[in-house]
């Protein structure tokens, strides 16, 4: 009967596909070049994107025989490719300039890091607006709005968003989250897309984890723990016992691993690792409080969120705990000084950061403050977001100077790139492995209601002896 044949027809079609797949021949050994070749062969995107990327897709047609662009500012010839157009950016500051498109993949609505990621992204927009006001980079303005996407901190959304923006961007100005970034890393490798991460996993210092594509800013949580403990040893006396409290994984796990490495190096046996979860899952931090109380360490390293931080410090102080606390970068929020834990925080807690705080004095910090006209941001995410742009800015300028603003050119420019962050963070030379690229400059802050964003800087950049002594030859926490 005829209707019986249809399922067979379906199966036949499926089988045929399978046969075709198994019968066909590989075109080229090098995936890089044939990607480009395909991009050139394929017809344009259907007219369902915003008008601006019509232009960019057009320019991608000429990827291989990269076009030469007249460059009014530098006078030299700059080769450009995907993600760079001769046409001005949408709503351009300098209508005569071309446009460099950067992508942002961040957690902008309901994900767990939205409170931090939104100010980060705001700062990035302000930074590039300021660069454009000053004339852009070698005759190009920089646009990061068009390809900003919300990933909700989910790898699936991140990967889809990456696939969507990849044809039209030159590089990624913010890639939030370790798993998310790693999920598209092999694609980024194939496409020569360089990214600045908004996550501080120790693995990024090693090319087995980042294929030399990730430009981390500041230290990793692992190094933070080491240097933080060194600082504590110098300013608060010898350490005989440590507790490392944190969320397992690339954040608390990395920090706890750093504490353990430090303890091994310095002959401290008493390290208690106390994993915990955010309040929305655990309801409260009473278990952490009793565990720390039982261990009675000299110093507690915290790698949690702000609410958990305040609860732990407040309850322990109330219970008569006399040790001190070192809180990782994301543990602070200015609102903590309104909470009941404020006195305990002021007395016992220090905030660790890889960058200057809002009360910093470097040229970079001044420029950042100017970008908000004296207003204060919602939290310290704004500082992170501002600092994160320096490597990308320097990279683009270096690539433009060498006359090659293609993706490959940008990637090549990363090797040996020196970035000084205008004094906001310790200078980094990119392109190395492990300790060559990892920095350890630490700014310690003390809570103070008078200080902007509630944190008063207590010292210049500090780098203890342990980090160099330990060496840094693999990621501290799990990498796969």
């Amino acid at each position: 009967m005829s209707q019986r044949t249809t399922p067979r027809r379906l199966l036949a079609a499926a089988a045929a596909t399978g046969l075709i797949l198994s019968a066909c021949t590989a075109v080229d050994e090098d995936p890089d070049t044939d990607d480009e070749a395909i991009a050139a062969e394929e017809p344009d995107a259907p007219a369902d994107d915003e008008p601006s990327d019509e232009d960019t897709t057009d320019s991608s047609d000429s990827t291989d025989d990269a076009e030469d662009t007249e460059d009014p500012a530098a006078g030299g010839d700059i080769t450009t490719g995907d993600g760079v157009t001769e046409e001005a950016c949408p709503e351009a500051v300098n209508p005569d300039n071309g446009c460099i498109y950067l992508g942002v993949l961040s957690d902008l609505t309901e994900g767990p890091f939205a409170a931090l990621a939104v100010p980060i992204t705001d700062a990035q927009r302000a930074y590039w607006a300021q660069v454009n006001e000053a004339g852009g980079i070698a005759g190009f303005d920089v646009d990061i709005d068009t390809y900003t996407r919300d990933t909700k901190y989910q790898p699936a959304e991140h990967a889809a968003a990456y696939q969507q923006i990849e044809p039209n961007i030159l590089a990624i100005a913010q890639s939030l989250g370790t798993v998310n970034t790693e999920s598209v890393l092999s694609d980024m490798d194939a496409n020569d897309i360089v990214a600045v991460p908004a996550s501080w996993w120790s693995g990024y210092a090693f090319s087995e984890n980042d294929h030399g594509l990730i430009m981390e800013t500041g230290y990793s949580y692992c190094v933070e723990a080491m240097v933080g403990l060194d600082w504590y040893g110098e300013s608060h006396g010898e350490i005989t016992s440590i507790a490392a409290v944190g969320y397992p994984g690339d954040y608390g796990g990395d920090s706890a691993a750093g504490a353990q490495l430090w303890a091994e190096q310095n002959g401290v046996d008493d390290v208690t690792v106390i994993p915990t979860g955010p309040n929305q899952v655990t309801g409260g931090q009473d278990a952490v409080v009793s565990a720390v109380m039982a261990a009675q360490p000299d110093v507690v390293l915290l790698a949690v969120g702000p609410a958990e931080n305040a609860e732990i410090v407040g309850k322990l102080a109330g219970g008569g705990f006399t040790g001190r606390f070192l809180g990782s970068l994301p543990t602070w929020n200015p609102a903590l000084l309104e909470s009941a834990a404020a006195p305990a925080l002021v007395g016992l807690y220090n905030h660790l950061a890889p960058t200057e705080q809002w009360d910093g004095t470097s040229a970079g910090t001044e420029a950042m403050k100017a970008s908000l006209d004296g207003e204060l941001p919602a939290n310290g995410g704004y500082i992170i977001g501002w600092v994160m742009n320096y490597p990308m800015h320097a990279l683009l300028e270096k690539a433009a100077d060498s006359g090659d603003l293609t993706r490959a050119g940008v990637r090549a420019a990363m090797d040996g790139l020196e970035v000084d962050f205008d004094g906001m963070a310790e200078a980094i030379t990119y392109g190395g492995e492990g300790a060559e690229v990892a920095v350890s400059g630490l700014i310690v802050g003390t809570p103070n209601a008078e200080a902007p964003l509630g944190i008063e800087t207590t010292n210049e950049f500090f780098s203890g002896p342990s980090f160099e002594a330990i060496g840094y030859d693999q990621a501290c926490s799990a990498s796969s």
């Binding site: 939205a114 939104v118 219970g319 009941a340 995410g381």
Partner: protein, 304 residues
């Protein structure tokens, strides 16, 4: 011994909040047969309104809390009228998914309102504690006032609720509606109004849960909303349509989670970090194996 006592007290304090949230689920479930996934959104709105009134406007905490509960109850009633009423008689899946849609909307709203800020609610307990047993140097067994306060508030509110449901005319009408809507209608009960009332109650209780969650001496952020889902095992453990079950379930889950967070890292570290997050589910699964309708749930009458 001292650790056991502190752990049990903390567990009861958290358990009281779980119980409150579980009751809020039960009330809505009994009236409209829906597992309301929008509860997290209502919970965090309760926290937000209290915070705005008590911290930004300087309204006394208790007044702010009452206003917040009323505001959220009104929102919840509105949701029922607009989105749930049209779904009566439709498949349960679809209605549950409608509440998921509402959840997404409310959650984004909460994120917008919090605007990346952490908030406090100026509760009267802060981080004060009472020392129950004095140790040598430090206090051996202490009770945080916020734990005691949570237990007291939940006890009073649920006690009043129980009396009201079993004594008052409206309360009886609500129970009649949840037993059999058509029979209730035949008795002259305005079933629609009972639906509204149940949702208002459920929303109000969720808001109160959010306020109590925030009373931990620390700050809250918008994504703390998801805390409401932690009460799900409490709900099922007690039986999804039983108020008594929800209270018992909440307390059990609070204790289980506190005990496992204190003792599992010492005695069974191989279970991994943060086992207390899944311990409630484990207990729930074990209970369901013995009693498929939870501890106090009504057995479904099965007819051919």
């Amino acid at each position: 011994m001292a650790t056991v006592a502190s752990t049990l007290l903390a567990g009861l304090g958290d358990g009281a909040v779980y119980a409150l949230i579980a009751v809020s689920f039960v009330i809505i479930f009994r009236a409209t047969g829906v597992l309301n996934f929008a509860q997290p959104g209502l919970l965090i709105l309760g926290t937000y309104v209290t915070s705005v009134l008590a911290v930004d406007r300087g309204v006394p905490f208790w007044v702010a809390a009452v206003i917040a509960v009323l505001v959220v109850a009104a929102i919840s009633m509105g949701i029922e009228r607009v989105a749930i009423r049209p779904m009566i008689g439709r498949p349960v899946f679809s209605t549950a998914l409608v509440t998921v849609g509402i959840f997404i909307v409310l959650l984004i709203l909460a994120f917008r309102l919090f605007a990346a800020r952490a908030r406090t609610i100026a509760d009267p307990w802060q981080l004060e504690q009472w020392c129950l047993v004095q140790g040598e140097t430090l206090c051996a067994v202490s009770l945080y006032q916020h734990h005691a306060g949570k237990i007291a508030v939940v006890a009073v509110v649920l006690g009043l609720l129980g009396v009201w449901l079993s004594r008052s005319r409206v309360g009886l009408a609500m129970r009649a509606t949840s037993l059999d809507q058509e029979a209730a209608l035949a008795q002259g009960i305005n079933v629609g109004r009972m639906f509204s009332l149940s949702w208002a109650l459920g929303g109000g209780l969720a808001a109160l849960g959010g306020i109590l969650l925030a009373a931990n001496g620390s700050v809250v952020q918008a994504n703390d909303a998801l805390f409401a889902l932690v009460a799900l095992p409490a709900l099922i453990l007690g039986g999804i349509d039983s108020l008594r079950g929800a209270v018992v379930g909440g307390l059990v889950i609070g204790l289980v989670s506190a005990l496992s967070s204190t003792y599992q890292p010492i005695h069974a570290p191989w279970l991994g970090p943060n086992f207390e997050n899944v311990a409630p589910y484990l207990v729930m699964i074990l209970v369901l194996l013995i009693r498929p309708y939870g501890l106090f749930g009504t057995k479904e009458v099965q007819r051919l």
